[in-house]
């Protein structure tokens, strides 16, 4: 009995072993085919056998089989070799060469996925840049124009008879309202404090606003007063924003604790609430919670998302993002 069977059995004594048997049965044909091809290659060492191996693996990949499955199939086939043959140098090497041939479609696919992730990251940066630009236009340019309108209205107010001034006062009030709206909108899109002071101060400002709006008590604690790349800071800011939204809207939490821990290699950010919680293993329930967006942001940066929750026991969203290395997101 494999380790996998043992683990699964504990969860559900009747149903799962059957499923596992079915899965093994599903791969049985693949194992037979692979074994046949491997034997042929070990016998003739010919390019035809390698080509067949390549086509076999390509087909397996297109049918949705994974790399670990392929590795298991290879291992099962190897076990059919007599023990002395299995460890004999030439056969060992030939089997490895055959396996490498079967890996190459997966290598291609893997590189494609990496390229896709890079493109996604780039797109994300482009979109954030656009948002920044629009926020800037709203805040600075539209704001300045409105200020000029204010002055102009004030000038007019002095010219008109006193009984008409009340209506102009109204116009000025509306103008002030528009200014406030614009400022808060542009701040939501692109918090300038994030650019100027970094993640933790920006989260403090955000928490203050959300606390005022929702009545939740929010505590921010973090050692990340060092700066990270703007991509990482923005992503984490948006993730916390989303998690706070969830805490207020879906979990009806009273208290939230935001924690940011930064080391030279990674940054971990968690948002813990004491709200309703949910069963994270139930997919349908979690899809609506904006978690998809969080998951995508995390994936884009090669990070991991941990979701710890159970009904009536609060929710913790924990995100870890690697710093430095190829993405050049280091804490400086």
């Amino acid at each position: 009995m494999s380790a996998l069977t043992l683990v699964k059995r504990q969860n559900s004594p009747q149903a799962l072993p059957l499923e596992i048997e079915a899965a093994q049965e599903g791969n049985a044909a693949l194992v037979e085919r692979y074994w046949f091809l491997l034997q042929a290659y070990l016998a003739d060492g010919d390019e035809l056998s390698l080509t067949r191996g390549y086509e076999f693996a390509r087909q397996a990949l297109m049918e949705g089989h994974g790399l670990l499955e392929l590795s298991e199939i290879h291992d099962l086939a190897l076990q059919r070799l007599p023990v002395d043959a299995r460890f004999a140098g030439p056969i060992h090497r030939a089997a490895a060469a055959f396996f490498a041939e079967c890996l190459s479609p997966f290598e291609m696919s893997h590189r494609g996925a990496q390229e896709g992730a890079r493109a996604l990251r780039h797109l994300n940066e482009v979109l954030e840049g656009e948002l920044k630009r629009i926020a800037h236009v709203l805040h600075d340019e539209a704001g300045q124009l409105l200020a000029l309108v204010h002055i102009a209205v004030g000038d007019v107010a002095r010219e008109v008879p006193p009984q008409a001034r009340g209506a102009l006062k109204n116009v000025e009030l509306l103008l002030t309202q528009i200014e406030t709206e614009l400022r808060s909108l542009s701040h939501e899109w692109r918090p300038t404090v994030l650019d100027h002071l970094g993640l933790v101060p920006a989260l403090e400002v955000l928490s203050g606003k959300v606390a005022k709006r929702t009545g939740m008590k929010i505590h921010v604690n973090g050692n990340a007063y060092t700066r990270m790349s703007s991509t990482v800071e923005t992503a984490l800011y948006r993730i916390v924003q989303e998690a706070l939204n969830n805490a207020a809207r879906h979990a009806q939490a009273g208290n939230v604790r935001i924690e940011v821990q930064c080391t030279p290699h990674q940054v971990t950010c968690s948002v813990r609430d004491d709200g309703k919680g949910f069963d994270p293993t139930r997919k349908l329930q979690t899809e609506g919670l904006g978690l998809t967006g969080i998951r995508e942001r995390v994936a884009t940066l090669g990070g991991t998302l941990r979701l710890i929750s159970e009904p009536s026991n609060g929710t913790t969203v924990q995100v870890t993002i690697p710093l430095g290395g190829r993405h050049a997101n280091s804490c400086s």
């Binding site: 080509t51 990949l61 041939e101 190459s104 479609p105 290598e107 291609m108 494609g112």
Partner: protein, 139 residues
Amino acid sequence: MAGAAFGNRMDLSVPVGSSNDVVGARREGRIMAARLGLSATEATLVAAAISELARNIVDYAGHGEIHLSPVSHKGRRGMTIVARDQGPGIADIKAAGQLGNTTSDGLGLPGVRRIMDEFDIASGSRSGTTVTVTKWKRQ
């Protein structure tokens, strides 16, 4: 020709008209890769590229050829694979359209681009499609 620098083995062409022809092209590609001192991993990638290029010819044009040649540039050695077909224009658009497709399984011409060091595709409505790829020996 660049191939002459490597003595007894010159450039060679393998006609591709069915999926069976890929075996010969891969065999020649692997032999050339070994002669040029490419590693086993590089040779595996060369063979994979030949498989995908040949499949592309068979699927979109019916027949064509795969041309293999050693190349050298500023002391670096490598090999160039040229896949040429006389396929119809519409098929070329289809083949070229795969290039930017990152949501698929990553095989086909986009896959070839990612496992080779250089990739170039030329396609005209009447002149068929020519895909030229190069794999350099790692220094």
